[in-house]
């Protein structure tokens, strides 16, 4: 427990240092944050918008916003993921008015080093993920691929932990139904 508290204190201290450096316009601070959290931000955006170019736009805007409006980042990951979700949902809303992208595979998994059977399974998962409702999709991705707790997810998606857990359970059940046990 004491080691965990020390690690947490160090992380908070480091996050504050990064905030101060960002406020002073140090690009190395932005690069450090990007290297640590860019992947998670991109994946959450992708899970919501489903299109890679849109996900990259969200990623860029989230990090640039940090430079435009410096803020105290006590928990950079939570802040960045919440900001990414907000922007991605807004992209989705604009797109819905154009009535496109009804069903789309999400290119979330890296299948470069996989054998053909696993690569096929990865494609099945990506396709099934794309068919989940967005509320379930984001929770499943944050839980399975970013390893977040339901309490952490709840703060990011602006709900409570029970609802996050319930969305996750429904999402996993639906995913399993879509993919089957063949993966």
């Amino acid at each position: 427990v004491s080691i965990a508290i020390q690690v947490n204190r160090a992380a908070v201290h480091e996050a504050r240092d990064l905030s101060a450096r960002l406020a002073a316009g140090h690009l190395s601070a932005l690069a450090a944050l990007y290297d640590r959290y860019g992947g998670a931000v991109y994946r959450l955006a992708l899970a919501i918008v489903r299109e890679e170019p849109d996900a990259e736009d969200v990623l860029q805007e989230v990090f640039l916003e940090l430079l435009r409006t410096p803020r105290d980042l006590r928990d950079p990951r939570a802040y960045l993921l919440a900001a990414a979700r907000r922007r991605a949902v807004s992209v989705l809303r604009r797109r819905r008015t154009k009535n496109t992208h009804a069903d789309r595979t999400i290119a979330l998994l890296d299948s470069t080093a996989l054998d053909p059977a696993d690569a096929a399974a990865a494609r099945q998962i990506e396709h099934a993920l794309g068919r989940l409702p967005v509320e379930q999709r984001q929770v499943v991705v944050l839980r399975i691929y970013e390893g977040l707790s339901f309490a952490e997810i709840a703060r990011i998606v602006r709900t409570n932990a029970n609802t996050a857990a319930s969305r996750y359970r429904y999402g996993i059940a639906r995913l399993r139904e879509l993919v089957g046990d063949g993966i």
Binding site: L30, R43, L59, L64, L109, I125, L175, R176
Partner: protein, 111 residues
């Protein structure tokens, strides 16, 4: 229904990150954003000083018309006492304004 095995299977797959070039694109845009911010800050500072100096000139002129002594005008406007007549304090305030703006231009590298 128990999904633990299924969840573990999902976790076995590695995820992709953003395209490699995205990092470079971000840092280039960030560099432009920082430069823009500095120019905006510099403009705001220059405007603030210019307004303060203009106020000082106006004050000096007003005080001169009202026959306040040059030393008093100089003290109020922050300018030096150049000569014992009304126009000198105005000139001093204007000189002070020009000096501040020139100093800012020099900082910015525009002189």
């Amino acid at each position: 229904m128990e999904h633990r095995g299924f969840e573990n299977r999902l976790r076995e797959f590695r995820t992709k990150g953003p395209p490699v070039a995205a990092r470079e694109r971000l840092l280039t845009r960030a560099q432009d954003a920082v430069a823009d911010r500095r120019v905006r800050q510099w403009r705001a500072r220059r405007l603030g000083l210019a307004m303060a100096a203009a106020f000082a000139v106006a004050l000096a002129a007003n005080l001169a018309v009202n026959q306040v002594t040059d030393a008093r005008i100089a003290a109020l406007t922050g300018g030096p006492v150049i000569a014992q007549h009304d126009g000198a304090a105005i000139a001093a305030a204007m000189h002070q304004r020009a000096r501040m703006l020139s100093m800012l231009d020099h900082e910015r590298g525009w002189d």
